[in-house]
Symmetry: C3
């Protein structure tokens, strides 16, 4: 029974956050150039240790000494695509969980096809927005997310004004965060990296996705209360992730 | 008659800024690695929606669903150069306006030659600094800018302590901004991206360049008043772009 | 007699900082994608003028018009590796000093081998952390740093809670900075870039490394006193580097 069907939120959220800070797991993140810096900083703020090499002939060395992998398709260049082809089988062989973020598949047919091939390689979590889920599922919103979760036997984390986490059977909704997040680049990519960090310490993929999105949304809510706009929002978000207490999550995020 | 010869500034500046926020146009930006994050954030702060893929075999898909293109030659690698070779003809075929930013052509002969070849492909706006204009025109300052505008039938936006926008016949000067901008990387690149965003909603290239540089300079002036140095300047600039009112532009920027 | 053996700190630190601001030297930085933006901003804040092109067929043009070179192996891709192969001989031929930052050599055998090959090409300074020094020297801590300095006839700057600068015979320790620096990505890479900037104006490699690490640590200490967490730390660090006075260095950093 996954965490999606047992909503003891304080426990679901607090335990992996505490473990993340105590264990400081290595997470290898294959992501786009715009998202690299803020994703690395989000992981460091939470206590994880990121690496980001995307060279095909060395990426397996980095994956093998990490505890989770993040695969983000934004701005995909041939070198990173080749690295994904090495990293995903390396992670699978070791039983490492991995996250897929199918950035902007609605704008490129070849990228959509690659995302579908990667889904067949069993990511633990697919983290996507509404347009990406619709493109991959052929159905909108929750229905699309549930279809993808069932077809590919993964957890789908569909983020937006309200976030949805579903294993295809049970679904949890999280309300929180801030509209300012749409005005800062790579916030979705950073959220995917954070899902990877939680997967490193929590093997129940529903629990990891919930804890990650709840932590990110809570920090976003705290940051929005302190920021004057999207520029000051990003440093405030990192400060909030660094100092985040489980109690703040329960206060800032509504689970439904 | 271009906007350079009819200086009804409030109208020239206010209308495209309002349209940018209302229409949220997609802008495809081919830029260097240092400039990607801040350029994306500047566009998002103003309301545009950036994409930045530079893979040669997918860039045309992204350009075709965008309303303007930005071509920046900083740190040009072979993959992005190949992408430029796909993106510019795709933009031209669709009648999409594009901006050329010939970063550091004074430091590399091959890059200067590429910039000259691209100028023959009819960018709507060339956005450059003094050293770049001099290298491309063989003449300094306003004379160089006017020569390039006439020779390549484009608008030239020469930025510096005072910005110049010229169509080769009429010239407008803008004074504003802040010397701190020289101490923050990629400010010129971000200004070029902002010109692209204004071109997406304002087809008069003089008007778009004026509105873009005036908005950027006004936000820079506001940010400089709030920042303690170049580190706090960047988030303040993004906050100021996000909240910018046409009235602030008239107050912070002097048109001559 | 190198600066490591004559500890007249105010002079050692103040003179190159003043020269850096007055001369505004160009520094070419071959670094990883995560570190580019913050490294460029750290150099600009201090007064240096960075360039970062890593294309193999143009990098020599940039090196030849620069006064120092920085070679960072983080996220090393084939294009940047080829550029290093052009840039280091170009720098050597011109007598330009260069810094080597062997990022994460403990995680990849091929990268460790490359770092050792580059050490034989005579960098002025090796800037590394404890794990990297141990991997390259086969010995831990100060012993490892001294062995590398003697074997490769370079200055080794080993950074951590306390920084060590050694020429293999004489050693100086600097205590300062902030534990928050471990929670912000690319701080070590930015420190290496700053060493490059000081080498551009101070040819005694011990003196340049000491002045660079002392400046960086002092700015870090000032920033930590103002920041709420790792997000606000980075803009505060850049503001502090911009405004740094020699007197603050003597106050914030302890030399032993």
């Amino acid at each position: 029974m996954s965490a999606c069907s047992r909503p003891d939120w304080p426990e679901t959220v607090a335990t992996p956050l505490t473990r993340l800070r105590a264990e400081r797991p290595r997470v290898h993140v294959l992501t786009n150039f715009v998202a690299m810096n803020v994703s690395a900083n989000a992981l460091l703020a939470l206590g994880a240790v990121p690496s980001m090499t995307f060279r095909a002939d060395t990426v397996a060395d980095f994956v093998c000494s990490a505890r989770a992998l993040v695969v983000n398709l934004g701005m995909l260049d041939p070198e990173r695509e080749a690295a994904i082809g090495q990293a995903v089988p390396a992670a699978s062989a070791l039983g490492l969980p991995w996250v897929l973020d199918p950035v902007k598949v609605e704008r490129s047919g070849p990228r959509r096809d690659l995302a579908l091939r990667l889904l067949r390689m069993r990511p633990a979590v697919l983290r996507a927005n509404a347009a990406e889920v619709e493109t991959l599922a052929g159905l909108k919103g929750l229905e699309g997310a549930e279809r993808l979760a069932r077809e590919f036997d993964c957890v789908v984390a569909l983020t937006g004004a309200t976030d949805i986490v579903t294993d295809g059977e049970q679904t949890v909704r999280l309300a929180g965060g801030s509209p300012l997040m749409d005005r800062v680049t790579a916030m979705g990519c950073a959220a995917s990296a954070v899902v990877g960090a939680f997967l490193a310490v929590e093997r129940d993929a529903c629990g990891a996705a919930l804890a990650a999105l709840a932590s990110f949304a809570a920090a976003g809510g705290i940051a929005a209360g302190r920021a004057r706009g999207p520029g000051s929002f990003e440093p405030e978000l990192l400060d909030a992730l660094f100092a985040l207490e489980p109690g703040q999550i329960m206060e800032k995020v509504e689970f439904r």
